[in-house]
């Protein structure tokens, strides 16, 4: 399943978007998610679409690669599109054939919701495709730093995220191995009614848990032996640097927000 989907995958590269600071990218994406909801008419949605295409071009990720990798989502999008077309009964009738009637409002709503969805998925996917999980964690740790004043354990959270990102592939391999081992013993995980499938998960989880906890214990010992004492005074191997291009990226989203507000009011 994983080979077909591209969310959460990282593709190394050297484009403008790749070189941006993870902090700038995170701010950008979070702001983008908010400004998408400003859009409410044709002009605003068109502006969003153009903006998204620009981002994709700057990231030098091939469009067909994105579309191919996001196929399951695009199918879902098509589904909601048709749901809107057939179930909204407002505005002028555009097309009528036997029991199918398409209303203007339905078509409009369908297109708007699809565009909103499309730009959201594309922009967030570009973020994960161009930023390694480790630097996303680094960026998040820095951005969440002010919350330390509220006594939230930000450093520990970030470290936990790094640990789990490090171990996800390992544990996925292990899960896969155990699945194959149990299949070889005759358990059936991929077919049959859901109840049977859930039951088949039990002999999978037991060895998985046991080995995962063993790993955690080894890791804790290794950390203690190397003198881990928490975040205070810890130095970093990878240092984040804020460049002019990062400021430009953050400014561009501010400008985009202003443009959207303008278009919403005056068009």
């Amino acid at each position: 399943m994983m080979d077909k989907l591209i969310f959460g995958r990282f593709i190394p590269g050297d484009s403008f978007v790749h070189r941006l600071d993870p902090r700038a990218k995170l701010i950008f994406v979070f702001a983008f998610i908010f400004i998408v909801f400003i859009a409410n008419n044709t002009a605003t949605y068109a502006a969003l679409l153009i903006f998204t295409i620009l981002i994709i071009l700057l990231s030098r990720i091939k469009l067909y690669f994105l579309i191919n990798g996001l196929k399951p989502i695009l199918i879902l999008m098509a589904f909601t599109f048709f749901l809107h077309i057939f179930f909204t009964k407002e505005g002028d009738i555009l097309y009528h054939w036997k029991f199918i009637t398409i209303y203007e409002e339905g078509l409009r709503q369908g297109i708007f919701i699809s565009v909103r969805f499309l730009v959201l998925v594309f922009v967030t996917t570009v973020l994960t495709l161009t930023t390694s999980p480790i630097s996303i964690t680094d960026g998040m740790e820095v951005l969440l730093n002010p919350l330390k004043k509220l006594k939230l354990p930000i450093h520990e959270l970030a470290l936990m995220m790094s640990i789990s990102l490090r171990f996800i592939p390992t544990l996925m391999d292990e899960t896969d191995k155990i699945m194959k081992a149990q299949t070889a013993r005759g358990s059936d995980l991929t077919s049959g009614p859901i109840k049977e499938r859930i039951k088949a998960v039990v002999p999978l989880l037991v060895p998985l848990f046991v080995s995962a906890f063993k790993r955690a214990e080894d890791l804790a010992t290794a950390m203690e032996v190397r003198g881990y004492r928490g975040g205070e005074g810890r130095t970093r191997y990878r240092q984040l640097k804020w460049h002019v291009r990062d400021t430009i990226a953050v400014l561009s989203i501010v400008v985009m927000g202003a443009v959207l507000i303008y278009l919403r009011k005056y068009s």
Binding site: G8, L83, F117, T125, M161, I168, R197, A220
Partner: protein, 162 residues
């Protein structure tokens, strides 16, 4: 926070993600059967497991098609439900009763996910809540005997405590 509980939390998070991604017939969107949701029962054994589960949900939702939306709502749901459970189970006696309570809390709080899907896809709210809740209820209910059985083999409470 002690190094050991930090390491265990990290690994629990990784386990949540691995199980979500691998043993997931449908892990995202309206009809969900996230097997990893049964890990939520871990807080019944020890509340320290909460942080690992939340981190797991954060990372798993990075992989979700809806990206940051799932991050906000999914994590919100987990934090809300886990907090309710941790606060209330002090007043409930017996492991089984605690786990049943936890299952109910998680099923009910799925309304947050339904709101999210309603906002994004315009899916009908009550219907979406129902489908999400059914999936969650099924997984969490099956999770009760599974986690109890697991607890007999590996003592969850003792593992994270010392």
């Amino acid at each position: 926070m002690k190094t050991k509980s930090l390491a265990i939390s990290g690994i629990i998070a990784a386990l949540y993600v691995a199980v979500t991604l691998l043993i997931a017939p449908f892990g995202f969107t309206a009809i969900q059967f996230r097997i990893s949701e049964m890990f939520n029962h871990l807080v019944v054994f020890n509340k320290k497991y909460m942080i690992g589960i939340v981190v797991g949900v954060i990372i798993a939702n990075f992989f979700s098609p809806l990206g940051v939306y799932d991050l906000a709502f999914g994590v919100g749901q987990s934090v809300l439900a886990l907090t309710i459970t941790i606060i209330s189970i002090r007043f409930i006696k017996g492991q089984l009763a605690k786990m049943i309570f936890n299952t109910i809390v998680f099923t009910v709080t799925m309304f947050l996910i339904a709101i999210e899907l309603h906002l994004l896809y315009d899916l009908p709210f009550l219907y979406t809540w129902f489908t999400c809740a059914v999936g969650e209820l099924a997984v969490m209910a099956v999770g009760i005997p599974v986690m109890m059985g697991l607890n007999k083999r590996i003592n969850f409470n003792k593992l994270i405590e010392d």
